[in-house]
């Protein structure tokens, strides 16, 4: 029998090789069995406050969506004139632009090689085109019912939040798709505003808050983390106050959501990390770590 075979020469050690006939039964289990097993080699140790800091990106983006919807609400209700919004947007964009260039002492600009003139040109082209097409935007969705528009905008904003690049390296992340969805939502919502000037201002504002603002945030986060925390707090507060003027219940729920994302979720992540049980060993498929595309260039 297989088991009945006892080691004939006890001195001879078992070897993990197949080409030699060894004096051990085929189902022999050596002490070295599973010695190459490794557990959780890729597991990361998280610090609570570091995770909270990183979760700021999610909170920020939620607040951006909130501010955008609140602004649209004000415009729709006629409590905010498009001229004022445009003016405010222009001023804050200018400030942000200066900040964006000053904060890293112009290093990023030198690296990208983009001139001021190129920035100004694309701004002018964008504004001119949006202004020219705003009557079209205004009437674009006239044949679609308002409920559909709202549902569509809600889905698009949700999609924007899902696909947004929060800094994670995952397959689902696609900043292009995310931005497109946000702009689509803004076009939908803008088409329900009273006049084409409203629509123009709304789309411009969407561009500022969904495209330009996250870029500035990313730079702030990298250069001055303290400042970034303060800005995030202030921004969240502004979003909350804005929401409060429309619906107090909504504001409370939104506050709870923000708290949950920034405080509760990091806690859960760190607790669940303890249960991580990931096994690695020689049977794992090897990963190709090099960039092989260079051979085809």
């Amino acid at each position: 029998m297989v088991c009945a075979q006892v080691e004939t020469s006890p001195r001879r050690r078992w070897q993990k090789v197949l080409y030699e006939r060894q004096p051990f039964p085929d189902n022999y289990v050596d002490q070295r069995f599973l010695e190459e097993l490794r557990k959780n080699i890729h597991a990361r140790q998280y610090q609570y406050w570091a995770v909270v800091f990183e979760s700021g990106a999610v909170a920020q983006q939620l607040c951006s969506v909130c501010v955008f919807v609140v602004t649209w609400w004000y415009m729709d209700a006629g409590m905010l004139s498009p001229q004022r919004l445009f003016g405010a947007g222009l001023v804050s964009s200018l400030l942000g632009y200066i900040l964006f260039n000053v904060i890293d002492a112009g290093v990023g600009r030198q690296e990208s090689g983009r001139t001021w003139w190129a920035d100004l040109k694309s701004t002018l082209v964008f504004i001119a085109f949006t202004y020219g097409f705003s009557p079209v935007l205004k009437t674009l969705t006239e044949s679609i019912s308002t409920d559909t528009i709202y549902a569509m905008s809600a889905f698009m904003l949700l999609g924007h939040l899902i696909f947004f690049d929060y800094g994670a390296n995952a397959a689902i992340v696609s900043s292009t798709l995310s931005l497109n969805m946000a702009i689509f939502a803004s076009v939908c919502l803008a088409s329900r505003l009273p006049r084409s000037l409203h629509a123009f201002v709304m789309v411009t504002f969407a561009m500022q808050i969904f495209a330009l603002w996250p870029m500035l945030q990313k730079k702030l986060k990298a250069q001055t983390p303290r400042c970034y925390v303060a800005v995030t707090m202030l921004f969240a507060l502004a979003a909350l106050v804005g929401l409060m003027t429309i619906s107090s219940v909504g504001a409370v729920l939104f506050a709870l959501l923000l708290l949950c994302i920034s405080c509760l979720c990091p806690y859960c992540l760190i607790r669940l990390q303890l249960f991580k049980d990931n096994i690695h060993g020689p049977w794992d498929e090897a990963e190709i770590k090099e960039d092989l595309s260079r051979f085809l260039m």
Binding site: V2, V17, P25, V29, W283, A286, I288, L296
Partner: protein, 462 residues
């Protein structure tokens, strides 16, 4: 069942797998060769697989190896779809008709193999399972397949793996007791892979690659190695045998670096052509990213080539260090390994192909595999098959609260189905199949002797 000898009993073994000839691959040749050697040792062996195109019904291969090609639907990658129940009537009929005592299933990718194990246990037959592949633990798909494997193997009598790494992997995946897992390597027919130095051109250096051109075989690495080395050595040639989705990558590299006369892509190879390709080269390169055993490097070494391979899976166990150069799975490391082999080749320090062949041919033989597999059958034949209630307990205690209860329910349903089938056609009225090898293998000796190695087949109506 007739006694085969004083110490040995003859077993009626049924090999079940989705993978068999005309499909080509490691599992297919393993089943065929093992069956042949077991028949030679006096056992009755039959193979059950699914129908391949027009090849359906019963066929007889060399030495009266009976093959059932069952009309089951193929779902994906030559694996049949499974409902866990639909194959019971057919398989039960075969098991009863052929008086099967041991069901030996092959390959964890084969749904039919798992089905057969499930039915065999319901019918109270002994079960053996051979795992031919490695699996990870990291992604969702492997979590699911590993759970299914746990269910399938928790009440299987014995499991065979092809390397120690594969054993560790299977034990972890299916949460098994390592004592019921044996390691029996694959083998290579050394007479099929003999060296022939006259066939190679010694004025140039040829590196041979024979593998399916897929991601798991590391073809992307190969696409980096080819330009790197071709630029360094002007008299270096590559010979690539095999077909697959990654062929386009190699073609692009060949195009990009203008290597049409130095990199030959031969396309898909027939099994008997592999040796003719191997003997044209000096160095064999294997770039696999994962491999349980890797027959290709043994075949190449048997043809006398110097083997350069990645150090993954069970490969370090397969050949001794003086016959193989192990590298990390990166372009740089593999290039270093190949350069070392080229330097050895040019300085003439490599052992001659004949010496290498004589050494390798002693390592792995199918007769040895069959002998060791027979020991497993002997052991299994002495074990008690779990009764229904024990089996349900095992499922529930071993496979987790949810899956365990679900599959225990399936086992009960399967049993009821079996009872129903037994009522419809009682075992007693099912004909006993005539053994294709004749009484005491007489027919085999009379008609088929001397035709060894060729798959001779005759179609009998089924």
């Amino acid at each position: 069942m007739a006694a085969g000898g004083p110490a040995r009993r003859a077993h009626n073994v049924c090999m079940v797998s989705d993978f068999f000839y005309p499909n080509m691959g490691g599992v297919e040749s393993h089943i065929y060769q093992l069956s042949q050697c077991l028949i030679e040792r006096g056992h009755k062996v039959l193979v059950v697989t699914h129908a391949y195109g027009t090849r359906k019904g019963i066929r007889y291969l060399t030495n009266g190896l009976k093959v059932y090609y069952l009309p089951l639907k193929v779902m994906y990658n030559q694996s049949t779809a499974t409902t866990l129940f639909h194959s019971l009537p057919l398989l039960r009929y075969i098991f009863v008709r052929e008086r099967v005592t041991i069901v030996h299933a092959h390959s964890s990718f084969s749904a039919m193999a798992h089905d057969a194990l499930f039915h065999a246990k319901t019918m109270g037959l002994r079960t053996v399972f051979t795992d031919h592949s490695l699996f990870g633990f990291a992604d969702v798909s492997s979590v699911l397949t590993n759970k299914l494997l746990t269910v399938s193997l928790c009440d299987t009598n014995h499991i065979i793996c092809v390397s120690y790494t594969s054993k560790e992997n299977t034990v972890l995946r299916a949460a098994l007791d390592p004592q019921i897992v044996s390691v029996i390597p694959n083998a290579v027919d050394p007479t099929d892979f003999t060296p022939d130095p006259s066939r190679r051109d010694d004025s140039i250096t040829t590196i041979v690659v024979v593998s399916r051109l897929v991601y798991r075989k590391g073809i992307d690495l190969l696409s980096g190695i080819i330009p790197e080395l071709c630029q360094k050595y002007p008299d270096l040639h590559f010979l690539v045998g095999g077909e697959g989705p990654k062929r386009i990558v190699l073609e692009e590299v060949r195009e990009r670096y203008q290597l049409h006369d130095r990199v030959r892509l031969l396309g898909a190879l027939e099994h008997q052509d592999v040796r003719n390709v191997l003997v044209q080269g000096h160095i064999f390169l294997n770039t696999s990213l994962t491999e349980a055993f890797c027959m290709a490097i043994v075949e190449a070494a048997s043809c006398g080539l110097q083997v350069v391979s990645t150090r993954v899976g069970g490969i370090p166990e397969v050949l001794p260090e003086n016959l193989i150069l192990l590298c990390e799975p990166s372009v740089k490391s593999l290039c270093d390994g190949l350069e070392k082999a080229i330097a050895q080749l040019r300085s003439g320090t490599l052992p001659s192909p004949e010496t290498v062949h004589n050494k390798v041919k002693t390592f792995y033989t199918w007769r040895n595999v069959a002998e060791r597999t027979e020991k497993v059958y002997e052991r299994v034949a002495d074990e008690v098959v779990l009764s229904m209630d024990e089996r349900l307990n095992r499922l529930i205690s071993h496979c987790g609260p949810v899956t365990g209860y679900i599959f225990a329910l399936f086992a009960v349903l399967n049993f009821l189905f079996l009872v129903f089938l037994r009522w419809m056609t009682p075992d007693s009225i099912i004909d006993v199949a005539i053994d294709a090898t004749g009484p005491k293998g007489a027919w085999t000796k009379q008609y088929f002797l001397g035709k060894k190695g060729r798959v001779k087949e005759e179609i009998l109506n089924s």
